[in-house]
């Protein structure tokens, strides 16, 4: 009863959306043009990276905060009793372990490449961090990396480093001008610094989201 009502309402709404899409006039503001016009002083060559780390870097700062926040909740809620969790049953498989041993260094290399490539093509801190996390998860599933328990200070430092560096850069730039206003000469170097620390931290956070629960 409720079920069919919800489904019908949902279908009607989808139809309304589609009809609304079809008679939309072209947009008034042309942001891609503004992005292209400012690419020279943004410090990177790829427009998406420029938007992500420079023009709308504030959003990126906050989303790292959201991710760190999720990790904090995971750490707070995950039960402490499950210490020294047994490794996954398939762990003893030598083929999987050898494959993991071969794949992980390549994945690390790929992550570094993705990070560096983000300056002038698709890539960047998030992609690199995701690959790093995948490497950690692969190691865990192969039985080569044990699950993580409550993090010590150094691991916490690693998890928070990316966010802290980004915050510190933002605060330091306040002395020169507005929040997150990169001086054009330094923009490229600062963005690379922020992205590098972000990539490591993101890798740790994303891996932690999996490994702290194992």
């Amino acid at each position: 009863m409720i079920r069919s009502a919800v489904v019908i309402l949902a279908a009607l709404f989808a139809a309304a959306l589609i009809v609304a899409f079809l008679d939309l006039p072209p947009a008034e503001i042309d942001l891609p043009a503004a992005v292209t016009a400012n690419m020279a002083i943004s410090g990177v060559d790829h427009p998406v990276t420029a938007v992500l780390l420079n023009f709308r870097g504030y959003d990126t700062l906050l989303e790292i905060g959201v991710l760190l926040l999720a990790l904090i909740v995971v750490l707070a809620v995950a039960p402490r009793e499950e210490v020294a969790a047994p490794l996954v049953a398939s762990a003893a498989d030598p083929v999987l372990q050898t494959l993991a041993r071969i794949a992980v260094p390549l994945m690390l290399l790929a992550a570094v490449y993705l990070l560096w490539a983000g300056a002038h093509q698709t890539g960047g801190a998030f992609q690199a961090g995701a690959v790093l996390a995948a490497a950690a998860v692969l190691l865990h599933l192969a039985g080569l990396l044990p699950g993580w328990s409550a993090p010590g200070l150094s691991l916490r430092g690693g998890l928070a480093a990316g966010f802290l560096v980004f915050l510190a850069v933002a605060a330091a730039l306040l002395t020169e001008g507005a929040l997150l206003q990169y001086p054009p000469a330094w923009a490229g170097a600062l963005i690379l610094l922020v992205e590098a620390t972000l990539a490591v931290s993101l890798g740790l956070i994303l891996a932690g989201l999996f490994l702290f629960l194992s």
Binding site: I18, V77, L209
Partner: protein, 100 residues
Amino acid sequence: MSTGLIFACGGAILFVMGVAGVILHDHLLRRILAFNLMGSGVFLVLIGLAQRGGVPDPVPQAMVLTGIVVAVAATALALTLARRLFALTGGYTLPKDGDE
């Protein structure tokens, strides 16, 4: 009907399916999956509508990247809570007292 608009329409359908899924399902994991479906739908609409003229637009692409990260954080949080609830109650459903 440009490519962008097709993606947007697909996104609208996915969104609606996702929301219906979150509301109607009882099993927590299915609700989390439905939430991800909803998120993917919104991202498709965002990019599809913005690029319906065929010109690539970096701003919604960056927005979607941010949105994906936020969705990952939310999914991780939801899964942790669900896992803990399972450890405490042995089930993956919320007790029935006036669900939407």
